[in-house]
């Protein structure tokens, strides 16, 4: 394979997991012969007969079934057709899966794949970022890979982890993001990654916003600013150490997320940094999130609703001036 996309990496990780571990199976709408709405399970039903199964349109029962199978030692992967639809399977995730181990000592190794995040023209119900909703609940691990390599290695880890994992895969990265090859090793889950080094300001972000931040950093570099970018990779657990260490170097913190502004990842990061690394900041920490409305359909509105390289650069400039 000369190059591989983020989406193909997700498919490959699932193929790998199915190949290596007989306990793995995939269950979701249209994941079987059709290969999934995004083709993330293309050919897998054929390659692994009886282990990649179409479900009815029953998100609650999909997750419930996965929990039951996990009790029996299986490692189900549930594909939600869009993250947005996980709200109808919500109860089984946040009350059934997430409490099982704590209540019974029986672990619940399920992976719920959420194709998430905004893409142009997708509108309020096919664009949502729900990582903060899941991260608030105890008992869940919430992953948000930003690169092809992480999509692959973190999905493999997700399946291997003995806890329910909410795997947030960004639809905007599916086709466009490419890598030369799949990684053979990876940072452990729970470790953030320095996506770009810099000494003037730290941008903490994750998923698709890492790429917006990288573009902003390149732009700011032409103005003489060196921006450090921390890619969280995992929003729960959150790698406070790496964040604080970066802020210790730069003295300035801008948190960027594509989710809605109230609460969420950016608030949590700021709360941690200011509680634990207060003296390190030379200026007030700042946040940049999506606007506090549903995600709009029209590309004009959509582009203004979410942070972009442009708005990140502007926020960074403001902060650098303080």
């Amino acid at each position: 394979m000369s190059s591989i996309t983020y989406l193909e990496a997700i498919r490959e990780a699932q193929a790998h997991a199915l190949r290596d571990d007989p306990r793995v199976f995939i269950y979701g709408q249209d994941v079987g012969a059709f290969g999934g709405a995004f083709k993330a399970t293309k050919n897998l039903a054929k390659e692994f007969p009886g282990r990649v199964l179409d479900s009815p349109i029953s998100e609650d029962a999909m997750v419930g079934l996965a929990v039951g199978a996990a009790i029996e030692g299986m490692r189900p992967i549930i594909e939600m057709q869009f993250a947005d639809f996980s709200t109808v399977g919500f109860n089984q995730i946040v009350n059934q899966a997430s409490t099982l181990f704590w209540r019974t000592k029986v672990s619940c190794p399920i992976t719920v794949r959420l194709p998430f995040g905004g893409t142009s023209g997708s509108g309020p119900f096919h664009s949502q970022c729900l990582e903060a909703i899941y991260a608030h609940y105890p008992g869940l691990v919430v992953l948000t890979p930003a690169t092809v390599e992480d999509a692959y290695s973190m999905l493999l880890s997700a399946v291997a982890i003995n806890d329910p994992v909410i795997f947030c895969e960004h639809k905007l990265l599916y086709y466009h993001l490419k890598a030369e090859k799949l990684p053979s090793e990876a940072l452990p889950i729970g470790k953030a990654r320095i996506a770009r080094e810099g000494r003037d300001l730290t941008v903490v972000t994750y998923s698709a916003m890492v790429h917006e931040a990288l573009v902003a950093a390149t732009e700011l570099a032409t103005e003489g600013w060196e921006i450090e970018i921390v890619d969280l990779r995992s929003v729960k657990p959150l790698d406070t150490d790496t964040i604080v260490a970066s802020v210790a170097r730069t003295g300035r913190l801008l948190c960027v997320g594509e989710a809605w502004p109230w609460g969420g990842v950016t608030a949590e990061v700021i709360a941690r940094v200011t509680s634990e690394g207060y003296g390190l900041l030379d200026a007030p920490p700042q946040r940049l999130n999506a606007k506090d409305t549903p995600v709009p359909y029209h590309p004009n509105l959509w582009a203004a609703h979410r942070p972009t390289a442009h708005s990140i650069a502007a926020a960074a400039r403001n902060l650098l001036r303080q």
Binding site: Q29, D30, G32, A33, F34, A37, D54, S55, P56, I57, S58, D60, F82, D84, F85, T87, V88, S120, G121, S122, G123, P124, F125, H126, P261, W262, N289, K291, D292, T293, P294, P296, Y297, H298, P299, N300, L301, A303, A304, H305
Partner: protein, 342 residues
């Protein structure tokens, strides 16, 4: 919805009997041509996001639209272009939503099939399947509370949506409240790519009605007269106070799930079966055989519709798109509770 003197069938010279099928047919035709246009615009890269068509389901959808009235409630789904037009949606509003005009009912905030005017009893779907049914219940419930009677509410779903918890809760709720809900399930044999045998295990979805204590109406969904008769009857039963009615129509979708999908999963057996026959052609044949109309008239209607669609597209393409700078970035009706985040 059949209304006022401007309605096409009002001009029909053939008398009372053919009115309803002719009216329905004209909505079918307009919907088909509108869908064709959306498909063309999609292929030309002129539409952002998905395009979802009702090809093959127009008879059922139009039958719904002409069987209800302006004062009724209608919650169409993704394959209901015909019903929407029949319920009074203008072609311009449909085009505006697909093209994201700032002047459309959704003002570019929502798109494609997510359109409606709730004030007018025309409910704009959210994507989550099954979720609109209880909203229809609520409208009916409120109207009854306010003393209205004689109205009905129609909610449309695909057979795949019968697997949702929402469908079940709402249908049961309607039954307990004895609401005049008409739930129309278009069983087009597939939910996206998923065939019926992976979706449910009963032989016929009408068998569900008894478990809710409501009445069932199976119908062949590509037969316009059958649809008109059965939908009419079900709507009448609901209107007369006999509680929720479940219509289950068997048909086949003659297109992909969306225009991005070639529907390669639809098996030839079904395509070649009676279900695979195009309801529009069947309706044409029927109307011609009955001498309710003639080919010249149909050609004229087609021409009219195409002109209207082209005009609408041309008009909407000149309309303003939403402007992020003047956009009111607030999700609340109550201004003083809106938070500023910048």
């Amino acid at each position: 919805m059949l209304q006022s003197a401007t309605h096409p069938h009002a001009k029909s010279p053939i008398g009372a009997a053919p009115d309803l099928p002719l009216a329905a047919y004209r909505f079918m035709l307009r919907a088909r041509l509108l869908d064709d246009k959306f498909a063309a615009l999609y292929r030309a890269g002129k539409i952002h996001g998905g395009v979802f068509l009702g090809r093959g389901q127009e008879a059922l959808s139009a039958a719904i639209g002409v069987s209800i009235q302006e004062t009724d409630v209608f919650a169409p789904l993704i394959r209901d272009a015909a019903g929407r037009l029949a319920f009074g949606e203008t072609i311009v509003d449909a085009v505006r939503t697909y093209l994201g005009s700032a002047l459309g009912p959704m003002r570019g905030r929502d798109g494609n099939v997510h359109r409606g005017r709730p004030q007018a009893g025309y409910l704009p779907m959210i994507s989550h399947l099954g979720a609109m049914v209880s909203v229809v219940n609520g409208v009916l419930f409120a109207r009854r509370m306010k003393g209205s009677s004689g109205m009905v509410g129609v909610a449309c779903l695909g057979e795949g949506a019968t697997s949702t918890g929402s469908f079940h809760e709402a249908l049961n709720q309607a039954a307990v409240e004895k609401l005049p809900l008409v739930l129309v399930v278009a069983n087009n044999q597939y939910a996206y790519s998923t065939p019926n045998d992976r979706q449910f295990a009963c032989a016929d979805l009408s068998a569900k009605a008894a478990g809710y204590g409501i009445e069932a109406h199976p119908v062949v969904g590509n037969d316009l007269s059958a649809c008109l008769e059965v939908v009419g009857r079900a709507v009448g039963r609901a209107r007369a106070g006999h509680g929720p009615q479940l219509i289950v129509a068997s048909l086949l979708r003659l297109c992909g799930h969306g225009e991005h999908d070639d529907a390669g999963y639809i098996v030839p057996e079904l395509k070649n079966s009676p279900l695979g026959r195009d309801c529009l052609k069947l309706a044409e044949k029927f109307l011609l055989a009955k001498h309710f109309t003639n080919t010249a008239q149909i050609a004229a209607w087609r021409g009219e519709a195409i002109r209207e669609i082209e005009d609408a597209v041309a008009q909407v393409q000149r309309e303003p798109t939403p402007d992020p700078f003047t956009e009111d970035w607030s999700a609340l009706a109550t201004e003083h509770l809106v938070e500023g985040y910048e």
